[in-house]
């Protein structure tokens, strides 16, 4: 009887600790709407964030801005002192983050909305008219507590 109680208690403890540690299905696909990271606009300005898709480009060039100006719907608009939690979905629509290989660096651009809207795309690219350009590995983001901060 005592042995059975002991086994039961230990099983519950092991299961509980296992769930706490992994919080996901090991080896399976990312769950629907799995939290990835937070983009935080700690500046007093309105900002727009853009992550290029990897596509067929080589990994070293994946973070480069595309030839055509991206649709504004693809950018994340953040008011001053606000943040946006990035989730990845498993509904068949790939987010830019999902097109990068695990060891790649992901490039995140932060634009001034006015510059992004008004300026010629070629000029933006040529003159580097962005507020910030993050080039991050998974390790960088994880060690920053999964928060990417833009400060001014």
């Amino acid at each position: 009887m005592k042995k059975s109680i002991f086994y039961t208690v230990m099983t519950i403890v092991l299961m509980a600790t296992s769930c706490m540690k992994h919080s996901g299905n090991i080896g399976g696909p990312v769950h629907n709407r799995e939290y990835v990271m937070t983009l935080a606009n700690d500046s007093p300005f309105h900002t727009m964030w853009y992550i290029p898709e990897h596509g067929d480009k080589g990994c070293d060039f994946a973070g480069e801005l595309p030839d055509q100006k991206p649709n504004e719907n693809l950018l994340i608009s953040l008011d001053p002192k606000t943040s946006f939690d990035v989730y990845v979905t498993n509904d068949g629509v790939e987010s830019p983050l999902e097109t990068y290989h695990p060891e790649d660096k992901v490039v995140i651009y932060v634009f001034d909305p006015e510059v992004f809207s008004m300026e010629d795309w070629e000029n933006i690219k040529a003159d580097g008219k962005w507020l910030e350009k993050f080039s991050l590995t998974v390790k960088d983001v994880a060690e920053a507590d999964k928060i990417v901060r833009f400060k001014r």
Partner: protein, 302 residues
């Protein structure tokens, strides 16, 4: 170590009490030792086992305690019959067990227990009937016995992991399970670790009677049992990374698992072997000569 101290203390206590009982007794043959006798014994239980490693077979022993109750009826001066119950239990301490495994593996790895169960933990409830012989000299009596009976044998499953000696990275996961296929309605491979099996017993008891009815005893004995219906399965799985992310998002979501490993089921290799099938005992105890004693009565009438 504590077990040895307890047994030594018992022996010391009994020996120290012996003179008290013997003071009032004359040095005569053991008249009361004929007829019915019961005795209780407690002692040391040892179950030898072997480990088949990567380099060789190595041998060790689980150890624990045994408790035994026995009734013996001596028909005459020398021969009698007995019925007994005994309970053996024991296990191998982690360090001792992994010392044996280490020797069997050729000192290739480091080891870590994976669960809360000590390795080679065994339980054996045994019932025996058999014949007894006695040879008395003074207050001492030598009593060999042989018997046959049933043992309910039970062994616990256990598992452990091996690690590289150089950098202590996980190498493989080992699990031992005891499987029975004796029930056709149980799914194959389900663990039914206990078994009632035919068993044999042989032992020699030495008794010393400081009083007519009471005696002290020391016994060495062996039990063996036919537990071949239980399959002792040793499964080895190699470790693999807990998670192989296919993209950047997954790598970030499961970043905490980057150094984790899990047993790879596809690499599992299972080897069956024979369970340990013998237990050796060394016990001390006390006993009483009871009941009607036809030999003494006959003697008194002469």
């Amino acid at each position: 170590m504590h077990r040895f101290k307890t047994i030594a203390l018992c022996i010391l206590l009994m020996l120290s009490c012996a003179p008290l009982f013997s003071k009032s007794q004359s040095k005569v043959d053991l008249r009361y030792a004929f007829g019915s006798t019961i005795d209780l014994q407690f002692g040391y239980s040892v179950m030898p086992y072997s480990v088949e490693g990567e380099a060789r077979n190595a041998y060790g022993a689980s150890s624990g305690s045994v408790f035994q109750m026995r009734y013996t009826y001596f028909f005459g001066r020398h021969f009698g019959a007995f019925a007994s119950y005994s309970f053996d239990q024991g296990s191998a301490p982690y360090e001792n067990y992994f010392g044996i495994v280490n020797r069997a593996d050729g000192r290739l790895y480091k080891y870590e227990e994976s669960y809360y169960q000590n390795p080679m933990r065994y339980f054996a409830n045994s019932f025996f009937v058999g014949v007894a012989y006695r040879y008395d000299f003074g207050r001492w009596s030598l009593r060999p016995r042989v018997g046959i009976g049933v043992t309910n044998f039970d062994m616990s499953a256990f598992c452990y992991s091996t690690y590289s000696r150089q950098d202590e990275t996980p190498v493989s996961y080992h699990s031992y399970s005891i499987i029975s296929d004796r029930k056709d309605y149980m799914k194959s491979g389900s663990s039914v670790p206990d078994l009632n099996c035919l068993a044999g017993y042989a032992g020699v008891q030495m008794t010393y009677s400081p009083a007519s009815h009471f005696f002290l005893s020391f016994e060495v004995s062996a039990k063996c049992f036919d537990n071949r219906k239980l399959d002792f399965q040793h499964t080895v799985k190699q470790y693999k990374p807990a998670y192989n992310p296919s993209n950047w998002s997954e790598a970030l979501v499961y970043y905490d698992l980057r150094d984790s490993v899990i047993p790879d089921d596809s690499s599992a290799k299972t080897v069956s072997s024979r369970l340990p099938y013998a237990i050796f005992n060394a016990s001390v105890g006390i006993g009483w000569n009871l009941g009607w004693n036809r030999n003494v009565s006959r003697h008194n009438h002469r």
